[in-house]
Symmetry: C2
Subunit: 245 residues, 2 copies
Amino acid sequence: MKIDPTSKADLSIQIAKAIREEIMAGTLRVDDRLPSETELCEHFAVSRSTVREALKRLAAQNLIRTQRGASGGAFVNRLSYDQARGHHVTTSTLLMSMNEVDFQTACEARFALERACAPLAVHRRTADHLATMRVEIYRQGQPGLSDESFCDSDVAFHRALVDSAGNDVLSYQLAGAVEATQPLMNMITFSARSREKIIELHTAIADAVENRDADTVDAKLGELSAYTLQLKDNVAKARSERKKS
Amino acid sequence: MKIDPTSKADLSIQIAKAIREEIMAGTLRVDDRLPSETELCEHFAVSRSTVREALKRLAAQNLIRTQRGASGGAFVNRLSYDQARGHHVTTSTLLMSMNEVDFQTACEARFALERACAPLAVHRRTADHLATMRVEIYRQGQPGLSDESFCDSDVAFHRALVDSAGNDVLSYQLAGAVEATQPLMNMITFSARSREKIIELHTAIADAVENRDADTVDAKLGELSAYTLQLKDNVAKARSERKKS
DNA sequence: CCGCCCATTAATGTCAGACAATTATTACAG
DNA sequence: CTGTAATAATTGTCTGACATTAATGGGCGG
């Protein structure tokens, strides 16, 4: 709970770190109120702007929330799965676009993880999950559906599949892999793909989940993966053809 | 690239959002320099403190970095896997501690994901990965090793296993599951566990990876999972015994 | 002509103080 | 007792200043 004014690191970084560590260590618990900005100024012997920049850093990570008015202040935030998922997907998406992740690498990771859910999913799936999957499959079959909407529905289908494993931790971790790579895959391949083929595979997966047949789910996810990679190949070939001419 | 001054949301949040969207959309690319704080003030018609708070928010997400001096400024940051992994682990850890995640849930998620790596790991493991695993197993066998060091080594072992799948995306996604749940599991069970049993399983896993035997890796990870859950049971029983007396 | 030192300059980092906006509490009037 | 207005506490924003850092260019000496 101290900072080193001689350190070369920015003060607001040090302060944010000090507070973050208290939260991680449990000294500050969920819904605890932090000292007011003025008190933090005194404690760390810095100006209010510096304290505020530190608090904004923490707020950006969803670690705290602030409230104005009397008996307001900064409170330790309960990290919700939804908030965390949003962040996770954003970061994963940027990570992949900025590092020019190989299509095959992303695809491999995504399906490896999704297949890991299959045994749990067939075991725990509820009627709700099945219904969601069926609805999305129906949507995907609608004529006139835009490519963007098809992508969205695709993501929703796979998310329902993952969620049906009934494990929040798993759902959270997979959000990054599935939701961040899916659009990437869609953008690359949607010009070339056959919606019928994908809907057929989705239907087979939903059926297998309903029948609690993990092996078939796994196999069909494998087919989907292979089909996606093949599409990518076709697109690449078409591109080099065009280059030649 | 505009903000709405009549919105109830804080200005610094709106500004951060506007810039974040430009980064996500690719308008601002990696290593691009943002306008200086003064220019951003004029552009958004706000004060410098507000702009700075917005920039700190982005910096907290590793989206930008800042540099002082002439020709300094804020630059779009290339998200590195290491930075992102650190964040991911921190968030996952907090998520699990704050939401009081069931031990079994965490354990289930972690092993399901790790087992998904097995087929890739046996295929792509290098001598380096094997060496790391062997070294960690050796460390784990040292008498007098503290519980904390044993935990660290355990994490390092599993990380080497995951990394040997040779897929950066996979390694990143799994960091959250493995590195965040492992300490939780260790804290709960390390009083009761037998290091010999764990070292034996680790050795079997390393051997199987070396022999490219995915099924055995999978089986041994399953045993490790079962053993961990059994330990947890023992601890729980011992606790209720103590309560009775 | 080359290299070193230094002033300049442009940028972020920090500070101080003020006012605005918001909200819970308290006091007061009816 | 109730509704309303004053009050106080707190975060949000603005302004202006100075400190710190680092690239740049110019002068000066070799």
